[in-house]
Symmetry: C2
DNA sequence: CTTCATATGTAAATTATTTTCATAAAATGG
DNA sequence: CCATTTTATGAAAATAATTTACATATGAAG
C-alpha cells in the first residue's frame, strides 16, 4: 500500500535511472500498468534488469508484482499525481467527482491518527454534554452530522453553527462538557475563540481540522486532515467526504465504547421508524 | 471496468472449467491477483491455456492484463463479494468505513443515469425557485447540502426538513418552481404526499431515491441509487457518500449550465470569506 | 592512485504465457 | 440413432517476459 510513498522517493535514495523510472511511472501510470518490462525499460532509457531492481527496491517481489501493486492504487490514490484535467461532459464530471471523493477518503485514511480518534471517542462517550460547533455550510454539516450520529447512541449532544450562540455555550460550559469543533481551513477565528473559552473553563476540546492551523493549536485533541484542494471553483470540496468518514469512524468508536447502551437506543429508534412507515424493518436507521 | 460484471456470468455462457475459474477468482481475489497462470490453473484444476482463453473471453488482452484489471478493482469494487467481517479494533473500523464509503461511490457511479442527471440539472438551472425536501437526518442533510451547493451558483433555493412545512410549501408552489426530494428508503409517505401536491400543480419534481419505490413513482425525474445496506447497526449508512456525490455532480452540472453566472456569484462569496478571515485566498469556498 | 562499493548493462538462464495442434465431448441435423 | 459439426480442453512446442549471473563502468573513500 505504500508504493505511493515509496515512489515519491522522500528519502532521496534513488539513483539517476531510478529517478527516471519513478518519474515515468508517476507521469503515466496507465502506461506503466499495461507495459511489459521491456516497454517500460525502453521508454525510460534503461535496461530491463534495472527495472526489476527498481521494483524490488520499492518493496515488490518483482516486476509483475509491481504492476499489480500499482494497478491496485490508481483508482483511489495515484490520480493525485495526474494533472488536473478540465471536465466538460456529464460523464467526465461524474467520473471526476467520484474519483476525487475516493481519493479524499484514501488520503484521509492514510494519515488518520487512530490514537487521537480513540482518545476523542472516549472523551465523547464519557461526556455529560457535548457541544458540536462548525460554521459556513461544510463544517456546519459536520457538526450536525455528529449530532445525528451521536444522539442515536444515547449521547447528550447538541449541534450549533451560530457563532454568537457557540461563544455563549462555550462560556457557559461546566464540568462534564466536551466541545467538538470542525474547520476545513483551520482558520475560523470564532471557533478558535470558542475553543479558548472552553479550555479556560477546563472543558476538553476535540477538533477535526488542518494540522498546524490556529484551530488545531487551540484544541486538546486534534484529528488532523490535510488534503490538497482542487482547483475547479465550480466543484464542492472533496474534503467533505473525508470529514464525513472521520465522523462515522468516531461515532462507531463511541458506539463500541458502550455497546449495550448504543444497542438499546438504536432499537427504540428503529421501532419508532418502522411504526411510522409501513412496517418494513429492513430499512436503515433513518432516511 | 466491467470485469466485475463479466465475472458474475450473468448470461450464463461460461463452460464448466470457466465457472470453476470464476468461482476461484471471486472467492480469493488476492490469490488470483498474485498467482501465476500456472498456480491459478492448478488450483482451479484446469490447464494454463484454459486460463488464457478465460481471460480473453472476459475481454482482457491476456492473463497479465487480466491480473491488472482485477487488481484495479478490489479496493473499490470487489470487496462486496467478501463476507462481512466483524470489526473490533479502531484500525478495522477505520478500514471498513473507508472501504464501504468507496464502494458506495463506486456502485453509485456504475448505475448513475446521466441522462436523468442532465435533465435534473436543466430543470434546476431554469427554475425560478427550488424547494429541497428531505427528512430524518440523512435525507435532511442532502436537502441542506443541495441548498448549500446551489445558492453559491445563484439559484433561488430553500431547504426544509419539516414535514408540515414541506406540505404547505408544495401546496403553495406556483409556476417556475421545482421540487427536489431525497429519500434513502424511498418510503417516506410525507415526501410522497408533497410530490403528489407539486405534481398536481404542474410543478416538476426531481428525486434521489431507490428505484421502484413509492417516492420514485411519485416523481418526474428519478435519480436512482440502489445500494445494499450494511448489517452493522452501529454503523451509519455508507449510502450517504453516494448521495452526497450525486448532489455534487448535480451541482456541478448546474454550474456548467450557466458558467458566467456561477462564476460571478462564487467570486463575491469568496471575497466575503477572505475579508472575514485573514486575507488568505487559497481556501476553499466555505469552511 | 588504488581500492571498494555501487550502479548499470549484456547475455544467458529461467520462468511465464501463448500458440498450435490433437483429442474428446457435446450439440446439431438428418 | 448415427454422422457431422462445433465446441471445449489439454499436451507440447514456441514465443515472450522476466530474472539471474556476471562483467564493466563510475565515483567515492582512504
Amino acid at each position: 500500500m505504500d508504493l505511493l510513498h515509496a515512489l515519491s522517493d522522500e528519502e532521496g535514495t534513488f539513483s539517476a535511472r531510478e529517478k527516471a523510472l519513478a518519474r515515468l511511472v508517476l507521469e503515466d501510470i496507465d502506461f506503466a500498468v499495461n507495459a511489459s518490462i521491456n516497454d517500460l525499460a525502453e521508454r525510460a532509457g534503461v535496461s530491463p534488469p534495472t527495472v526489476t531492481r527498481f521494483c524490488r527496491r520499492l518493496g515488490c517481489q518483482g516486476f509483475p508484482d509491481f504492476k499489480v501493486q500499482l494497478a491496485k492504487m490508481p483508482y483511489v490514490g495515484l490520480r493525485y499525481f495526474a494533472p488536473e484535467t478540465p471536465t466538460e461532459t456529464p460523464e467526465e464530471v461524474a467520473e471526476d467527482i467520484v474519483a476525487k471523493a475516493q481519493n479524499a477518503l484514501f488520503q484521509m485514511h492514510r494519515q488518520l491518527d487512530l490514537a487521537a480518534m480513540s482518545k476523542a471517542a472516549h472523551l465523547l462517550r464519557g461526556a455529560d454534554f457535548i457541544h458540536a460547533f462548525g460554521a459556513s455550510g461544510n463544517s456546519a454539516m459536520m457538526a450536525h452530522e455528529l449530532h445525528n450520529r451521536l444522539f442515536r447512541l444515547g449521547c447528550p449532544v447538541s449541534a450549533s453553527s451560530d457563532h454568537g450562540m457557540n461563544a455563549m455555550l462555550a462560556a457557559a460550559a461546566g464540568p462534564g462538557t466536551v466541545v467538538f469543533g470542525s474547520s476545513f481551513s483551520g482558520r475560523d477565528p470564532m471557533l478558535v475563540r470558542c475553543l479558548d473559552l472552553a479550555r479556560g473553563r477546563g472543558v476538553p476540546t476535540i477538533v477535526v481540522t488542518q494540522s498546524g492551523s490556529p484551530v488545531a493549536k487551540a484544541a486538546d485533541v486534534v484529528i488532523a486532515v490535510d488534503l490538497p484542494e482542487g482547483r475547479n471553483i465550480f466543484r464542492p470540496t472533496s474534503t467533505r467526504y473525508a470529514y464525513l468518514a472521520v465522523i462515522d469512524i468516531l461515532a462507531n468508536l463511541v458506539a463500541y465504547a458502550d455497546r449495550e447502551k448504543a444497542t438499546r437506543i438504536l432499537r427504540s429508534i428503529k421501532e419508532e421508524l418502522v411504526r411510522r412507515r409501513d412496517g418494513d424493518d429492513r430499512q436503515a436507521l433513518g432516511d
